[in-house]
């Protein structure tokens, strides 16, 4: 099925299941510990061996030799695989950092060996017996501030004449912000079990993008995709870290090939931070020019960010390209090639980092103009795409987000001047920030079938990384086929199923529901044909098909105990991006407190208002948003992978050193969905929301800290060491 023009008013106009608050269908499994995650699938293959991976001890250089004798002789050890035993394995288009093979070390904790043994204990002990001899490259650069960009970047946006408009503007700000490297830090480590059957390999793994993983593994193992099966029904979080094939899967496959037995590999937590991907560091330079009454006339957003040679960097100016109205816009992203680990997508790549700077800079502008920062944003709301004035926004309710939020939050009663509002030793501040995140959609396929018992089954290689895919796909099929949600079984994450969008970039929910919609339409047409009726004349309700006075129970449509099945893929036409900018919008409001003596920052309350099209399920969507707000709070106040500039690695590479928010860090959270339909986006008129939620949160917190104290911290995270020296002396 193709989605070539905006959905008509009648499409899914009056839904009974889609958009309703349905509890997660996988809840009973997840709350009882019976949902099977990759590393614990004892049932899928007998006689599994355990592989323990080892990461490189240097950031850049050459591995000269690996002494394996001790490990090979150790009790329980079955095989030792070292990177020197292999040529550098080829990489797919989705990977940058070397995964295994060869003697070149490109980043710290690059996988260099796997010890396969009978048990976890013997594998781990064996791994520690390996003896590595490295020749480090002492010339490599690990300090972003001292690394020049490649210099061949083109502007992302270059509209009007920024330099002139900025020079002529009566009010200007010119500020630099930095954001640190962040780690996804999902709770389930990367893990895979691999088993070979002849020349075919199956991977039970934890991956967001089944098709990419399958294609990438085929490339890396130098085989063809039809020889690879990926299965990933439950994924303990991803946030972008599991978008791509990683070393756990490659090593498990190689270990299983070598030993002739299934091998399972989980990346040890302290290895994840440097072995896998991270959100890159940014150095952002923002210049904004405005009139005295607050109308923006010029914006420039320049960024520099790290990447491995050939890799991509954090595109921080992305939101600025489309957010505020201005006739003069300049955005450019520059990449500094360095040998830190691979920078890559983390929840709202580009936007999350970019808005940490842009939305704080907007606050600085409001301060300079002595304007209400809510009003400044409303005044500068874009009606057309600032980067391409020929394009409009499919739907844009940013102003309504701001107004609704201001009202709900009690913005009019906010603290006005730093130090004015106190609770004991704590200074209270309020902050606001806008949220912007693109809302892409990707082709997505599914199989939908009526089962002999009249139930419905949905099969697609779509994944549920905590996003609620199981539930919203069940809702979609239930709606389309007139059965209760409980009668729909959803099977995900298996590469034998139709290729879906996968989970990433905030496109998963909207794309995969559209794919299930397409398959349901195909199935309905098939049923119409079987019944000799016209598709448009059929009504699906109460587990039956109704047409012209006759009723047929769904189970009567199946024959011989076989399912009645249809497969289709939703393809999204170019009209979506050619005529429109399809995006989501939001506003965050924060009350924070800052200790007047110690500089500790804590949050009192958080509010988000979201404009993200139809909300497919307010329960799971709200969870996505509160979770993203929590991650945004971490970005604002805690999270930083500290770079050792001499040794070239992230130093605090465990969950004690890399602090993500804990329960006590997170106060009362409120989420408001405008729930306005966007017919340009998908037939379900929905847009993603899981990444919107993190966009702008950190800036709103920064603005609240500034409002409380008068201290503007431009280097995230806003830790007390950057505040304590600027507080009034005692």
């Amino acid at each position: 099925m193709r989605f070539d023009k905006p959905a008509g008013d009648s499409v899914l106009a009056d839904t009974k299941v889609i958009g309703k608050p349905v509890h997660r269908v996988d809840g009973p499994l997840k709350t009882t510990g019976t949902a099977p995650y990759a590393y614990e699938r004892h049932d899928v293959a007998a006689n599994q061996l355990v592989g323990w991976p080892v990461g490189a001890a240097i950031a850049k250089g050459k591995l000269k030799s690996v002494g394996t004798k001790k490990a090979e002789a150790a009790p329980g050890v079955v095989a030792v695989l070292t990177t020197l035993q292999f040529d550098r394995l080829p990489l797919s288009q989705w990977n940058t950092a070397n995964l295994f093979g060869g003697d070149q070390i490109e980043h710290y904790h690059q996988a260099v060996a796997l010890v396969v043994a009978e048990t976890l204990e013997t594998a781990r002990a064996g791994a520690a017996m390996l003896e590595f001899d490295y020749a480090p490259d002492t010339e490599a650069s690990f300090d972003l501030s001292k690394t020049a960009p490649t210099g061949d970047e083109q502007p992302l946006s270059d509209v009007g004449n920024f330099e002139k408009a900025y020079a002529d503007a009566p009010v200007t700000i010119d500020v630099n912000y930095t954001t640190p490297a962040e780690s996804h830090a999902m709770m389930e480590p990367h893990a895979s079990i691999a088993a070979w059957d002849g020349d075919e390999v199956t991977l039970w793994t934890s991956n967001q993008m089944i098709q990419w993983d399958k294609m990438a593994l085929a490339t890396t193992l130098k085989t063809t995709p039809d020889k690879v099966r990926i299965d990933s029904p439950y994924i303990g979080g991803g946030f972008g870290s599991k978008l791509f094939l990683r070393a756990d899967a490659v090593l498990a496959a190689l270990g299983a090939k070598r030993t002739g037995k299934p091998v399972k590999v989980q990346l040890p937590r302290p290895m994840i931070f440097n072995n896998t991907t991270h959100r890159g560091l940014t150095e952002q330079h923002l210049k904004i020019g405005a009139t005295q009454d607050g109308k923006i006339v010029a914006i420039s957003h320049e960024n520099k960010s790290n990447a491995l040679p050939g890799g991509s960097s954090e595109k921080a100016p992305a939101p600025t390209q489309h957010f505020y109205a201005t006739d003069n816009l300049y955005c450019i992203n520059r990449t500094a090639e360095m040998h830190l680990p691979e920078s890559n997508a983390m929840r709202a790549p580009g936007e999350a980092s970019g808005l940490m700077a842009l939305e704080a800079a907007m606050d600085e502008l409001a301060e300079k103009l002595d304007m209400d920062p809510v009003e400044l944003r409303i005044m500068n709301d874009a009606k057309v795409d600032p980067s391409n004035p020929n394009k409009t926004f499919s739907r844009r309710h940013f102003v309504e987000c701001l107004r609704t939020g201001a009202d709900r939050f009690g913005w009019s009663k906010r603290n006005r001047k730093p130090g004015d509002t106190r609770e004991g030793a704590w200074l209270i501040g309020h902050g606001v920030a806008g949220a912007y995140r693109g809302a892409p959609a990707q082709a997505s396929g599914a199989e939908v079938a009526i089962r002999p018992d009249g139930g419905v089954v949905v099969r697609t290689d779509m994944t549920d990384i905590g996003t609620g895919s199981y539930t919203i796909l069940a809702q979609t099929a239930a709606e389309m086929l007139g059965v209760p949600v409980e009668r729909v079984r959803v099977e995900l994450g298996d590469s034998r199923y139709p290729v879906s969008s996968g989970s990433g970039g905030q496109f998963g929910a909207v794309s995969s529901t559209a794919g299930v919609y397409a398959a349901c339409v195909a199935l309905r047409k098939k049923i119409a044909d079987e019944l000799g009726k016209k598709h448009d004349d059929l009504t699906f309700a109460d587990g039956a098909v109704h047409a012209g006075g006759s009723t047929t129970e769904l189970k009567k449509l199946t024959r011989g105990g076989r399912e009645l099945s249809a497969i289709d893929t939703m393809h999204f036409g170019d009209f979506r991006s050619e005529k429109y900018v399809v995006s989501t919008f939001g506003a965050h409001f924060i009350e924070a407190r800052v200790h007047s003596l110690t500089g500790e920052v804590r949050l009192n309350r958080m509010l988000a208002v979201c404009d993200a099209g139809r909300i497919l399920n307010p329960i799971t969507a709200r969870s996505q948003v509160i979770g993203a707000m929590t991650m945004g709070a971490g970005a604002a106040l805690l999270e930083e992978m500290a770079v050792d500039h001499d040794r070239g690695f992230f130093v605090n590479h465990d969950l004690a050193g890399y602090e993500v928010p804990v329960h006590l860090d997170i106060p009362h959270q409120e989420v408001v969905f405008l729930d306005v339909l966007d017919p340009v986006s998908t037939p379900l008129k929905a847009k993603g929301v899981g990444e919107l939620g993190i966009c702008g949160v950190a800036a709103a917190i920064a603005n609240a800290v500034n409002n409380a104290t008068g201290i503007r911290v431009r280097d995230y995270p806003i830790t007390l060491d950057k505040i304590v020296g600027k507080l009034p002396t005692i």
Binding site: H595, A642, H653, E659, L720
Partner: protein, 316 residues
């Protein structure tokens, strides 16, 4: 983790003897730090002496009017003890500021004293570290040192001691009781338990081979307002950047010890005489010899301001 033999000790002296008779042995009780370090092969014992069954898990009143805390009393039980809450509240406060409910249920009193540093370079066996691998150098000096010591360190090591409990124990003048392999007992003040790194950062305590901590004694209660203020980035489940344990008497005199700034709980009985003059007066003496790095120089003013916050609270 290296393979090890495991032996269950039946009495303290026998535990000490076993430990002393094996070249590479460790006691194990709660295990919450030791097992963590063994997995990373930072600790590599080949013999573990299980002391969990020694029965040293009681809190008793002493003839001197204080408390004698068995070494195996869990952090939870110690924090929750009615006498501790009433008479030594700074100890309860420090205990509950540390770790998490799960960890405090397992961690023991003796083990808490013997925690090892959380320096990230100590934790990464690829990195030079004089504490873990004597003579290999210190990657933290000139590296990422935000959490590390501003005072008491050396050119060889700037690790901090991570315990909260030990800071409160120091301010309460607690003493440790030990037994050695010959059955000899002695008592050691908290300050004498720990060594500064100097040029042997691998030697962290003055315990002799096999010597086992059996109890901690607290002297008679001293009253006063007892406060433990722990400053950290995350509001819970994080080690201190700076912590202050203080006992402030109605006349303004009192005691102060710092955590998070040094290789051991940092207290100076001379410096705290200035307490009636305020936080600045105390810290100017207590941290006079501070030698921070660029990363952690904020800890010096932070310590002063945290004590000011404590005094403010004590005054309320």
């Amino acid at each position: 983790m290296r393979a090890f033999s495991l032996e269950r000790a039946s009495d303290p002296q026998q535990a000490a003897k076993s430990a002393a008779s094996h070249e590479n042995s460790k006691f194990i009780a709660g295990g919450t730090n030791l097992i963590d370090l063994m997995k990373l092969e930072i600790e590599t014992p080949t013999h573990l002496v299980d002391v969990t069954q020694l029965g040293l898990d009681k809190i008793e009143e002493t003839d001197e009017g204080g408390l004698r805390i068995g070494t195996l009393v869990s952090n939870t039980d110690l924090a929750a003890d009615d006498r501790v809450r009433r008479d030594y509240p700074v100890l309860t406060r420090a205990l509950v500021a540390g770790a998490t409910g799960q960890l405090r249920n397992k961690a023991t009193t003796g083990g808490n004293f013997l925690q090892r540093t959380r320096c990230p370079y100590f934790y990464d066996t690829n990195m030079p570290c004089n504490k873990r691998n004597p003579g290999s150098g210190c990657a933290a000096i000139g590296g990422y040192s935000r959490q590390l010591a501003v005072i008491g360190g050396s050119d060889h090591c700037i690790a901090t001691h991570p315990s909260d409990m030990a800071v409160a124990m120091r301010v309460l003048d607690a003493e440790l009781e030990t037994v050695d392999p010959d059955g000899k007992t002695r008592s050691i003040a908290v300050d004498d338990l720990y060594r500064l790194p100097g040029d042997t950062p691998e030697k962290e305590t003055n315990l002799k081979p096999g010597e086992v901590i059996t109890a901690v004694t607290l002297p008679k209660p001293v009253g006063g307002k007892q406060i433990y203020y722990k400053v950290r980035d995350r509001s819970s489940y994080a080690f201190a950047l700076v912590s202050v344990a203080a006992i402030v008497q109605p006349d303004g005199t009192g005691r102060v010890a710092l955590g998070g700034v040094a290789p051991k709980p940092w207290r100076d009985e001379e410096a705290e005489k200035a307490l009636p003059q305020g936080a600045g007066a105390v810290m100017d003496t207590l941290l006079a010899d501070a030698n921070p790095t660029d990363d952690n120089e904020f800890k010096v003013p932070l310590a002063k301001r945290t004590l000011a916050a404590v005094l403010q609270e004590a005054g309320n």
